[in-house]
C-alpha cells in the first residue's frame, strides 16, 4: 500500500523515470550484494574448516607425567615437551627448512635430512634452517591435563607455569 502511494507519488513528481530508477537501483544492489556474498563465500570456502591431519589443539596428559628436566618428543604430534622445574613448554619438531621431523640431540635438536642444528631452545646453530623452531602455547585444560595449541605461537623462552 505504502509502496503504491510512493510509486504513485513518484509518477506524479518525476514520471516513469524515477520508478524505473528505483527498480533498477534495487535490482542492481541485490545482484551486487549476491555477487559480494558469493565471492566472499568462495574465499572463505578456500580455507578448509578442518584438516585431516592431527588436531592442532590437543591434550598431552597430566603435568605429573613429565618430570622435571624431561624433554619428550612426540613423533605423531610433532612437538617436544620440555619441563624444567614447574615450567613447561612445547617446541615444534618440524624443521623450518623443509619440514622434516627433527630429532633430539645432546645439544638440542638435529634435523636428519639436511643437517640443520638447533640448540635446546630451538635457535638455529647450524645448517640450512632459516628460522628457529617455534614455541607453542601450553595451557592447563579443566580436566587437569596439559593442552598444546599449535595454532598459537609464543615467544621462545616463555614457559607455562604449572
Amino acid at each position: 500500500m505504502a509502496m503504491a502511494t510512493k510509486a504513485a507519488a513518484r509518477t506524479e513528481a518525476g514520471g516513469a523515470m524515477s520508478r524505473r530508477k528505483l527498480l533498477g537501483w534495487l535490482s542492481g544492489v541485490s545482484l551486487f550484494g549476491s555477487a559480494v556474498l558469493s565471492a566472499f563465500s568462495n574465499f572463505v570456502f578456500i580455507k578448509p574448516r578442518a584438516t585431516y591431519g592431527q588436531p592442532q589443539r590437543f591434550s598431552i596428559g597430566k603435568p605429573e607425567e613429565f618430570p622435571s628436566g624431561a624433554r619428550i618428543a612426540m613423533e605423531q604430534k610433532r612437538v617436544c615437551v620440555v619441563r624444567e622445574g614447574n615450567k613447561v613448554a612445547a617446541i615444534s619438531t618440524t624443521c623450518t627448512h623443509l619440514g622434516c621431523i627433527v630429532g633430539l640431540s645432546d645439544t638440542g635438536f638435529a634435523c636428519p635430512c639436511h643437517g640443520s642444528r638447533f640448540d635446546t631452545d630451538g635457535t638455529v646453530t647450524g645448517g640450512p634452517a632459516p628460522k628457529p623452531l617455534p614455541w607453542f602455547k601450553v595451557s592447563l585444560a579443566p580436566n587437569g591435563e596439559l593442552e598444546i595449541d599449535k595454532d598459537t605461537q609464543v615467544e621462545p623462552g616463555s614457559y607455562f607455569t604449572v
Binding site: 520508478r19 524505473r20 527498480l23 533498477g24 534495487l26 535490482s27 542492481g28 541485490s30 545482484l31 550484494g33 549476491s34 556474498l37 558469493s38 566472499f40 563465500s41 572463505v44 570456502f45 574448516r49 578442518a50 585431516y52 591431519g53 592431527q54 588436531p55 589443539r57 590437543f58 591434550s59 605423531q76 602455547k137 595451557s139 592447563l140 585444560a141 579443566p142 580436566n143 587437569g144 591435563e145 598459537t152 607455562f160 607455569t161
Partner: protein, 609 residues
Amino acid sequence: MRLALAIACFVILIVHGLVFYNQFFHKWQDYQTTYYDQALSMAKTPAEKSSLADKSPRIEQIIVTQFGETRVDRCTTCHIAMDDPRFEKYGHPLKTHSYSTALGDRLVNGKWERRHKFSDFGCTVCHDGQGRGLKPEYSHGEDEYWPEPLLGFMVQANWRKEFQPKLKGKDYLESACAQCHTEENFPGTPTVTEGRKLFFSQNCYGCHKIEGLSDGTLAPDLTEAGKKFKLDYLWESIVDPTANLATSFMPNFHLSDDKVRALVVFLKSRKGLNFAETSLAHYRAQLNAKRPGSESKEEASTPSPAPTLAGPALVAQGEKLLTDHACTACHKLKATDGGIAPDLTYEGLIKDEDWIGDHFKNPRARVPDSIMPSFRFADTEFRAMTAFLVAQHTPPPATAPAEMYKALCQRCHGEKGDGHGPIAWYLDPYPRDLTKAGFINSKSIDRLRHSVKTGVAGTSMPAWGKLLPDDQIDGMLKYVFATFTKDVRVEPRPRKVPETNPVVSNAASIDRGQRTFLDRCAGCHGKKADGKGPNSLDILPRPRNLRNAWFINSVDDRRLFDSISYGVQGTAMPSWVDYGLQTSDIGDLVNFIRSLNPQATRSINARAN
C-alpha cells in the same frame, strides 16, 4: 517487467544470504561460545582466563590412529565440555561425560581419571554414530535412545514397541567393548561371553556362519550381523523367527529374556572387521585362525564324562546332551516337537547304532540331501547321544490305522496325504504324495509294502517294519488307499523288463550311457545327475537324485529298467520306450548311473539289510 526483475534480484539476494548463513554460522559455534563464556566465569586464575579469552569456536576433532582404521571423531565440537568436570550439572551438549568404574575410570585425589581417554579413543568407538557429522541428524542419526550408545534403535516403520524396554541397558554397551576386547571370556563383557556360549550351546553355529567361529551354510551369515541389523530386529528374529521372513525355518528356541539379550549383545558385537584391526591385520588373523572345530571340541570335551561311562549313565548323559544341544528345536522327541526334522521317538527301533553314529558325524553320509548341520560335538558326546537314541525302543501302541497315520505318517505326508506335511518342506526327497492314484496304483502292493516295511534308503522314510507287525502295515496301506488314493485299486501286472542289466558294464557302455543321459535326462536330473536340473524346480515330486548312493544301490536293475522304460506314473518321468530308447540304451544308462555311485556303500547297505 522491471518490477519482476527487481523482485527476482531481491529473491536471489535473500537466497544467497540464507545459504551464506547456513554455511558459515553453525549451531556448534553457539555451543562453543556458550561453553567459553561459562568457563570464563568459572575461571579462577588470570592465566586460565587469558587462555580462554584466546579461544575462538572451531571444529574440534580427535583423530584416532593408534588402532585399526583411522577414525575421525568431531563429536567434541558440540560436546566440548565432555572432559570438563565442572559441567556435570549442565544439559546436553554442554555436559560432562559421566565417569564409570566399570569402564576403568579411577578417582584419584578427588579427581576422576579416565581409563579410556577421549583423546586416545575418540567417541564413536563406544557410542557408534558418525564421528564426522557436525549436525545431530548426521552424527546421531534418528536414534531414539541417544545419548545411550547409538546401537541402532532407529525409528522405523516395523519397530516393535513392546521390545523397547528390553533393548535398553548397560549390557548393550558391551557389544561396543567387544570390538576391541575381542578375547574370549574378557571379564568386562560377561554378556558377550554368555552370548557366545549360547551361540554354541543352542547350536546356532550349526546353521549360521560367523567368520572365525562357525561355518554353517543353512542360515544367513551373521559375520556382520552387528553392522547390518538393529537391536529390535535381532531380538525379534530370535524370539519370533518368522516375523520378518515368513519362509524362515529357524526354530523358536523359547529362550528366557536374559538369554535373548545375551545373544543380541553378542550378535551386535559381530561387525566383521573389528575396530581393533585393519583389514590387512584381519586377513592375516583369518589365515592363522585356529579352526573353531578343534577349539569347541576341546571346550566341549572338558565337562563331558570319561569315556568309560556306560549303560544307563551314558544314556542319561545322552538325554541331557540332547536337551542341552536343543535337538528338539528341530526334531520331535516324544511330546516335544520342533517341527522341522524327523521324529526321533522310535529311533532305537528304526536305526542301528552304526547308522546313528555315522549320521551324527555327517548327516549327508547317510541321507545325501539332508539339511541337518554337521555338529562339532566331542566323540564322547556323540557316543552318549547315540546311546540315548539307541535306547529309544518303545514301539508305538497298536492303534487303528487312522490314529497310527496321525501319529507316525502325518508329520511328513500331511493330513490330507498329499505329501505336504508340516516338515515336508525340509526333507529332500519330498515325501510321496499319497493322493496321486497314478503313482500309487501303478505300483504293486509288494513294492509299496516293501517301501513302508524297509523304508527308502538314503531318504527320511524309516523302516516301519521294525516297529509295526506286518498286519498293521497292511492295514495302514489299505487305509491309505481308501482315504487318500481313493481310486479303485487294480493290482498292476508286472511289466516285461529284464531282471538284471543285460548290458555288461564297461567304460564304453558307461560312456554311451553318459551321452544318452546328457541328451535326454539332464534337463530334469541335472548335468551332475543330482536331480537339480533346470526343469527340476517346476516338478513335484522332484527328479530323483541319482547320486544318492544309498538309494540307487538299494534298488535293483529291474526297478531302474522299469522306471526308465515305462516312466513313473504320477510323476514327470516319461516312458522312454516311447521316445525311442532301446533296451541296450537303457542298459547303458543303468551302467552309467551305477558308475556314479560307489559300490562300497552298496555292500554296506546289503549287509545292513
